[in-house]
C-alpha cells in the first residue's frame, strides 16, 4: 500500500466560480479509491489537474513523493498515470484500433500494423467484453462501446495509476460488472485506481476507500468504505439538502400513487408495427399520464421504438400514432407533433457547448418550433432559462457558456430545453446519465410531475433501478419483439434483468 | 462548324486564344471565323480559357492538335509555355501560325502574324505629346494591367522610350500594376490619379485602362489627358465623348483574318507558309475616325467590309509586309 499519487491543497478558480478550494487526495497502490460528490463539486476539475490538463491556482501534485505537473495526458501516461475522462476524448473518424493506440501504435516496417494492434488489444478488449469489429470507426459505435474503447485505451497504457471519471455513465449493467471485475484484477496487481461515479452502492461495493467532495472541499477524507454507509455518504455529499432514501430500490411513494388515465385516448400507440431488421409486430399503447419503460439488451429493438417516434425509422407495416396523428416523417415533424426527444449523447445531439445556457434552453421552442416570434428577446429567453435553472437546480447562470458547466449540469440543461416546449409526449433515453443522486431524485420527481400533468413519458435507461423506480410498467424487448411487460408491482432491477436475459442463459448478445 | 471527325472532306482547323472573355480574344476569333467562311471548306474550332491561364490554354491547344490537325493558329500571352507543345505539333506536320505574340525559338513556328507592340506604344506617346504644350514639364503616369505579358511590356517600353526621347523634362512614373479586373483596375487608377494630383497624362496599355481612366476623368472633371489601347465598346464611347483623346487599336480582327486566310491558302494550295513576322499595322482611333470604327465593331460582316481593302492588299503580297522573325516585338 505505497502512496502513488498525492494532491494537497489544490485550488482552482474559474473566474468567480471556485471549483476546488484546497482539496487533498491520496492514491495508494493496490486499492480502488472512490471520489464522489454532487454535480459541480469539482471531481472532474481535480482529475484534469491530476492529469496535467489543467494548471492549479494553488496546491501541489506529487508522484511517488516527488512534486510533478504533467504537460498533458500523454505526459501523464508516460509517467504511468492513465486517464479516462468524463467527456469522451476519442477520434470518431478513426478506427477502434487507431483510437486504442493514440501515441505508441505498433509499427511493422515503419508502417502502422493493424495486425499487431489487434493482437495487443485483443486480451484487453476481451476482458472488457468489447465485441465490435476493431476496424469500424469509433464514431459508428454505440456510446457504451465508445466508453469501453476509452477504458481500453487507458488499460493498454499499462498504468500504475488509473483515473476513471464516470466511466460507467453510459454502460449497461453487464459491462459495469465486467469493468468492476477488471478493476479488481488490476488492484491485485498493485495498481492504484481513482474511481468517480454517481452509482453510490456500486462505488461502495468496489472501492476500499472513499473521498467526498462538496463545493470543492473535502467533506469525507480517505475513509475506509466499510466504515461508512450510504446515508452518511449522501449527507456528506449534499449536506442538509439530502433527500430521503436516495438510490434505494424501493420507488418513492409519489410515483406509486400515480397511474395512467384508463379512459383517455392513448398519446402513443403502436399497432403491430414492423420495421425491417428492427421491429416485428410491436404493439403497445401509452396513455397520457403514464410512465412506460422500454428495456432490452443491445439490439433488442426497444430503442428502435424511439427511432420510429422521432421519424428516423418508418414503419414497414402496422400503424404507429402520436396523439392520433400518423408517425412523423422527420425530427422536425415529430417535435411539431409534440414529442420531446432527450438523447443520451448530450455532447452531440443535446447541446451547443460554445453557446450560453439561455440559447440552449430556447433552441427547440424558439428556433425549432418558431415560438416567440421572429425577433430575439434576449432578456425574456434568459429569464426562462433562469426559471428552468431554478426548477432543475442547475449550477450556473443563463449567460455561462454551456461547456463551463459540469457534466451533470449540462445534462440538466438538455432536459430544460425540452421541458421548455411543453411537450405532450416525452421520450427519455438515459435522462439521468451522469447526474448525482440528489439531482437524480429531483429529476425523478420532475418526471413524475410531468406525467401527473397528463404527459405520456417513454423512458429507456441503462440504469434498471431507475426504470424500477419510475415506471408504471416496463415493456421488455428481445429480437425486435415485445416478449414481456412487467407491471409496477413486480418492478425491480432483478425482475427486469431476468426478463431481458430470459432465454439467453445470462449471456449478453 | 464541323465535328472533330472532319465531315465532308473539309479541313479541320483550330484557333486557340489566351482568354475568350476579353475583347481581343473575341475579335481575333471573329476574324479567323470570317476568314474560314470566305476561304470556304474549313471547320474552324475556337478554344480558349475563360480567364487568362497559360497552362489551361496549353491543355486546350494540346487537344486541338489531336482534333484539328489540318492547321492551327496559336494566340497566347506567355509563349514559353507553348514552346514544347508547338514544337510537337509542328513536328507532327501540323502547320501552326503564331498570332499576336511572337513564338519562342524552340517552338519551331516560323510564321508569326502580329503587331509591332513597341510601335503601338510609340504611337500612343506621340499622340499624347501632340496634345501637350510644347516642351512640356510635369509627370505622366503609366499603367499596365498584367505585368509579365510580353505584348504589354513592349507597349510600355515604346511609351517610355518615346517620352524620354521627345519630352526629356517630363517625369514618367510607372508603369504601375493596374489589374485586369475592371473594378480593381478602376481602384488602381483612381488611387494613381489621387496620388499624382496635377499629372499631365495617365496612360494605360490594356483595355480596362481606357474606359476606367475615361470614367475617372469625367467624374473628377480632370484636366489631364487619359488614353489606353484596344477598342471595346465602352472605350469607343469614351473616345467619341472626347474623354479618351485616343485609343490605339491593334486591329485584332484583321490579324485573326490574315493569319487564318494565309494558313488556309497554304494548306489548300500545298504551298509553304510565309516565313517570318507579318508586321501588322496599328490604328490610331480618335474623334476623326471614331464613327467608322464604331460602325466597324457592330458585326463581323461590318468589320470584314471595313478591312477588305487592307485584307486584299496584304493577301495579294504578304512578302511586302514580312520582316525577320527575330525583329518581332
Amino acid at each position: 500500500m505505497t502512496e502513488v499519487l498525492r494532491a494537497s491543497g489544490l485550488v482552482k478558480r474559474y473566474g468567480g466560480v471556485t471549483a476546488l478550494a484546497g482539496t487533498d487526495l491520496t492514491l495508494r497502490s493496490a486499492e480502488v479509491h472512490a471520489l464522489v460528490g454532487e454535480n459541480g463539486a469539482g471531481k472532474s476539475t481535480l482529475v484534469k489537474i491530476l492529469s496535467g490538463v489543467l494548471r492549479p491556482d494553488g496546491g501541489t501534485v506529487e508522484l511517488d513523493g516527488r512534486p510533478t505537473s504533467f504537460a498533458s495526458a500523454r505526459d501523464a501516461a508516460a509517467h504511468g498515470v492513465a486517464i479516462v475522462s468524463q467527456e469522451l476524448s476519442l477520434f470518431p473518424d478513426l478506427t477502434v484500433l487507431e483510437n486504442l493506440f493514440p501515441h505508441n501504435a505498433p509499427l511493422r516496417g515503419g508502417l502502422l500494423s493493424p495486425g499487431r494492434m489487434a493482437q495487443r488489444a485483443a486480451p484487453v478488449l476481451r476482458e472488457l467484453g468489447l465485441t465490435v469489429p476493431v476496424r469500424t470507426k469509433v464514431g459508428d459505435l454505440a456510446l457504451a462501446d465508445q466508453q469501453l474503447v476509452e477504458i481500453g485505451r487507458a488499460l493498454l497504457q499499462h498504468p500504475r495509476a488509473l483515473i476513471l471519471d464516470e466511466p460507467t455513465s453510459a454502460l449497461p449493467r453487464e459491462s459495469v460488472r465486467r469493468l468492476d471485475a477488471v478493476l479488481r484484477r488490476l488492484v491485485t496487481r498493485g495498481i492504484a485506481v481513482l474511481y468517480i461515479s454517481h452509482f453510490l452502492e456500486e462505488v461502495l461495493r468496489l472501492a476500499q476507500r472513499v473521498t467526498v467532495l462538496r463545493d470543492g472541499r473535502v467533506t469525507v477524507s480517505d475513509a475506509p468504505t466499510d466504515s461508512i454507509d450510504l446515508d452518511s455518504l449522501v449527507t456528506a455529499m449534499l449536506g442538509a439538502a439530502a433527500p430521503p432514501v436516495l438510490g434505494a430500490a424501493a420507488p418513492p411513494a409519489a410515483v406509486r400513487t400515480r397511474t395512467g388515465r384508463p379512459g383517455a385516448a392513448p398519446a402513443v400507440s403502436f399497432d403491430r408495427v414492423s420495421v425491417p431488421d428492427r421491429l416485428r409486430e410491436v404493439s403497445f399503447a401509452v396513455a397520457p399520464g403514464e410512465i412506460v419503460g422500454f428495456a432490452g439488451l443491445q439490439g433488442a429493438g426497444h430503442l428502435s421504438v424511439f427511432d420510429v417516434l422521432c421519424g428516423r425509422a418508418r414503419p414497414g407495416s402496422g400503424v404507429a400514432r402520436i396523439n392520433g396523428r400518423p408517425a412523423p416523417r422527420s425530427f422536425r415533424h415529430a417535435i411539431r407533433a409534440g414529442v420531446a426527444l432527450v438523447s443520451s449523447d448530450r455532447k452531440r445531439y443535446g447541446l451547443m457547448l460554445d453557446k450560453p445556457v439561455w440559447q440552449n434552453t430556447s433552441a427547440v421552442s424558439w428556433l425549432g418550433l418558431g415560438r416567440g416570434g421572429p425577433w430575439l428577446h434576449r432578456a425574456r429567453l434568459a429569464d426562462t432559462a433562469a426559471a428552468h435553472g431554478r426548477r432543475l437546480r442547475i449550477r450556473g447562470h443563463p449567460g455561462d457558456l454551456t461547456n463551463t458547466l459540469s457534466g451533470g449540469n449540462q445534462q440538466k440543461v438538455v432536459l430544460a430545453k425540452w421541458l421548455d416546449t411543453e411537450p405532450s409526449v416525452i421520450v427519455l433515453d438515459d435522462p439521468t446519465r451522469g447526474i448525482d443522486v440528489g439531482a437524480r431524485a429531483e429529476m425523478h420527481t420532475i418526471i413524475a410531475d410531468l406525467a401527473r400533468d397528463g404527459r405520456a413519458v417513454l423512458i429507456a435507461s441503462t440504469d434498471l433501478i431507475e426504470l424500477a423506480e419510475l415506471c408504471d410498467r416496463v415493456v421488455i424487448f428481445q429480437h425486435g419483439r415485445v416478449t414481456d411487460e412487467i407491471p409496477a408491482d413486480r418492478l425491480s432491477e432483478q425482475t427486469l434483468s431476468v426478463a431481458m436475459n430470459a432465454g439467453f442463459a445470462g449471456t449478453v448478445e | 462548324g464541323g465535328s472533330g471527325s472532319g465531315s465532308g472532306g473539309s479541313l479541320n482547323m483550330g484557333i486557340a486564344v489566351a482568354n475568350i472573355s476579353l475583347n481581343f480574344g473575341h475579335e481575333m476569333v471573329e476574324g479567323a471565323q470570317s476568314a474560314s467562311q470566305h476561304e470556304g471548306g474549313v471547320n474552324l474550332k475556337a478554344v480558349g480559357p475563360a480567364n487568362t491561364d497559360g497552362p489551361a490554354e496549353e491543355q486546350l491547344f494540346q487537344n486541338l492538335t489531336t482534333t484539328d490537325r489540318d492547321g492551327l493558329i496559336l494566340q497566347n500571352l506567355d509563349p514559353p509555355i507553348f514552346t514544347r507543345p508547338a514544337a510537337q505539333a509542328v513536328g507532327q506536320g501540323i502547320p501552326v501560325v503564331a498570332l499576336d505574340t511572337a513564338p519562342t525559338d524552340g517552338s519551331k513556328i516560323t510564321f508569326y502574324v502580329g503587331n509591332d507592340n513597341y510601335e503601338l506604344g510609340v504611337m500612343l506617346a506621340e499622340q499624347t505629346i501632340k496634345r501637350l504644350p510644347t516642351d512640356p514639364t510635369g509627370t505622366i503616369v503609366l499603367g499596365e494591367p498584367n505585368p509579365g505579358t510580353p505584348v504589354l511590356d513592349s507597349r510600355v517600353q515604346g511609351l517610355k522610350d518615346t517620352f524620354a526621347k521627345l519630352t526629356p523634362k517630363v517625369k514618367v512614373l510607372g508603369a504601375y500594376q493596374t489589374y485586369s479586373d475592371p473594378n480593381q483596375n478602376y481602384n488602381a487608377w483612381v488611387s494613381l490619379v489621387h496620388a499624382n494630383a496635377g499629372g499631365l497624362a495617365f496612360l494605360g496599355v490594356g483595355d480596362a485602362d481606357s474606359y476606367d481612366l475615361a470614367k475617372i476623368k469625367q467624374d473628377e472633371h480632370g484636366s489631364y489627358l487619359v488614353a489606353g489601347t484596344d477598342v471595346d465598346a465602352q472605350t469607343l464611347q469614351d473616345v467619341k465623348a472626347g474623354l479618351d483623346f485616343v485609343t490605339i487599336d491593334p486591329e485584332h480582327f484583321l490579324k485573326g483574318y490574315v493569319a487564318t486566310a494565309l494558313l488556309i491558302q497554304s494548306v489548300k494550295q500545298h504551298k509553304p507558309l510565309p516565313q517570318g513576322w507579318l508586321d501588322m499595322p496599328g490604328l490610331v482611333v480618335d474623334q476623326s475616325n471614331i464613327d467608322s470604327i464604331i460602325q466597324r465593331e457592330t458585326s463581323p460582316q461590318a468589320a470584314y467590309t471595313f478591312y477588305l481593302p487592307q485584307i486584299t492588299k496584304i493577301l495579294a503580297d504578304p512578302a511586302a509586309t514580312l520582316k525577320p522573325l527575330a525583329q518581332a516585338r
Binding site: G15, K355, W358, Q359, H397 | H26, N51, N183, Q184, A233
Partner: protein, 356 residues
C-alpha cells in the same frame, strides 16, 4: 472558451449578456467589456489609414478616402452576405459569378429598353433566386456547398459571357436617374457607400437579433443538435445562400449604376477576398459565430492596403509581394491585439477554426 466578447453586434455571446447580467462580474474585467470584437479590426484599420496618411497626407484627402470606401463597396456587400453561409458552415464561391451575371443581365434589360428602376428589382430577385438555387442543390443533391458554388460560379459567369456574347454592353442611358443617383453621390458621399453602411446595419441586426440569424448560428455551432432540435435546416441553408446571392445582386446593381456598362469579366476572385474579409472580421470557417460589421471592416482593410500601396509607388513587379506582406502584417497585428486582451485564441487544437 470565452475568447470573444458579447456585444450588440458581434453575435457570439460568451461573456455576460447585459440582459441577464448573471455571470459573476469578476469573470469580465471592465476593459474586456469595453472592447467589442469589431474594435480589434477597427483599430487595425485606423492604424493602417493613419499610418499611410502620415507618410502621404494626400491619402487622407476626403476624395481619396471616399474613393477607397467606394471601391470597397462591391466585395464589402458580398462579405456582409457571406457571413451567413460561413456562420452555418457553408461557403459561397459563386458570388463573383452572380455579380457578373447580375451586371450583364441588368445592362441587357436596360439596353433592351427596360427602365433601369425596373431592371433593379429584376436583378435583385434573380440573384437572390440563384443563391437560393445554390442552397437547394446543396441540400437536395447532398453536395458540399464548396463544390456546388464553385461549379455555380462557372455556370453563372458562363451565362453572363454567353448573354453578352463576350462583349461589354454599353450605350446605356447614362443620364437616367438610376445611374446619376445610385452611381453618384449623396451628401458628398458616394451613394454606394451609404448602401454598404445600410446593408451592414440591417444584416448585423438580422444576424444577431432575429430567429433566422439565431438559426444560422445554431446550425453552425452544432449541426446534429440543431437538426435534432427541429430546426428547419434545409430552409435556413437556402435562405442563407439566397441572402448571400442577394448581396451579390445588390453589388452588381451598384456596379452597373456606377460603371454604366455590363462587363461579363468582372468579379473574378471576389469570393476569396470576401471570405478573407469575413475571417479577418471574426467569422471563422468553423461556423457558429460571426460578425457582419467585422466582415465589412475586414474588407475595408484589404481595400485600403491595395490603395495605400499606390501612394508608396511600389515598383510594379513588387506590388503583389507588398500586398501579401501588408495583409499578413495587418492580421498579425490584429491577432496580437486580441491576445493582449486575453481572449484571443485558444490553445492550438482546442478549436482550430475558431480564430480570426
Amino acid at each position: 472558451m470565452s475568447d470573444r466578447l458579447s456585444d450588440t453586434l458581434s453575435a457570439d455571446e460568451p461573456g455576460p449578456p447585459a440582459s441577464d447580467g448573471a455571470a459573476p462580474d469578476t469573470a469580465w474585467p471592465w476593459y474586456r467589456r469595453l472592447l467589442p470584437d469589431e474594435l480589434g479590426v477597427g483599430l487595425v484599420l485606423v492604424v493602417l489609414v493613419v499610418g499611410v496618411g502620415l507618410a502621404h497626407p494626400d491619402f487622407l484627402r476626403s476624395t481619396s478616402l471616399l474613393s477607397t470606401a467606394q471601391s470597397s463597396v462591391y466585395v464589402g456587400l458580398m462579405a456582409c452576405g457571406m457571413v451567413f453561409p460561413l456562420a452555418m458552415r457553408e461557403v459561397d464561391l459563386s458570388v463573383g459569378g452572380i455579380y457578373a451575371l447580375g451586371i450583364v443581365a441588368g445592362a441587357m434589360l436596360i439596353h433592351a429598353g427596360l427602365s433601369p428602376w425596373l431592371a433593379l428589382p429584376v436583378v435583385l430577385v434573380l440573384s437572390a433566386a440563384i443563391g437560393a438555387l445554390n442552397g437547394a442543390i446543396t441540400t437536395y443533391l447532398r453536395l458540399p456547398s464548396f463544390i456546388v458554388t464553385l461549379a455555380g460560379a462557372m455556370l453563372y459567369r458562363g451565362v453572363a459571357l454567353a448573354l453578352a456574347n463576350g462583349k461589354q454592353i454599353g450605350g446605356l442611358p447614362e443620364n437616367n436617374s438610376f445611374f446619376t443617383l445610385l452611381g453618384g453621390n449623396l451628401g458628398g458621399v458616394p451613394t454606394s457607400v451609404w448602401v454598404l453602411l445600410a446593408a451592414t446595419v440591417v444584416l448585423a441586426v438580422v444576424f444577431t437579433r432575429t430567429r433566422f440569424g439565431a438559426r444560422v448560428r445554431s446550425i453552425g455551432s452544432n449541426p446534429d443538435a440543431a437538426e435534432f432540435s427541429g430546426l428547419p435546416i434545409a430552409r435556413t441553408r437556402i435562405l442563407a445562400l439566397g441572402l448571400s446571392g442577394l448581396m451579390a445582386g445588390v453589388a452588381s446593381s451598384l456596379g452597373l449604376a456606377f460603371y454604366i456598362a455590363g462587363d461579363p469579366t468582372v468579379g473574378n476572385g471576389y469570393e476569396l477576398t470576401a471570405i478573407a474579409a469575413c475571417i479577418i472580421g471574426g467569422t471563422p470557417l468553423a461556423g457558429g459565430r460571426g460578425s457582419v460589421p467585422g466582415a465589412m471592416i475586414g474588407n475595408l482593410i484589404l481595400t485600403s492596403v491595395a490603395t495605400a500601396l499606390v501612394f508608396f509607388q511600389v515598383p510594379i513587379n513588387w506590388t503583389t509581394f507588398a500586398t501579401g506582406a501588408v495583409i499578413l502584417i495587418a492580421v498579425a497585428f490584429d491577432s496580437l491585439l486580441r491576445r493582449s486582451r486575453g481572449h484571443g485564441f485558444l490553445p492550438r487544437g482546442r478549436n482550430p477554426f475558431r480564430r480570426g
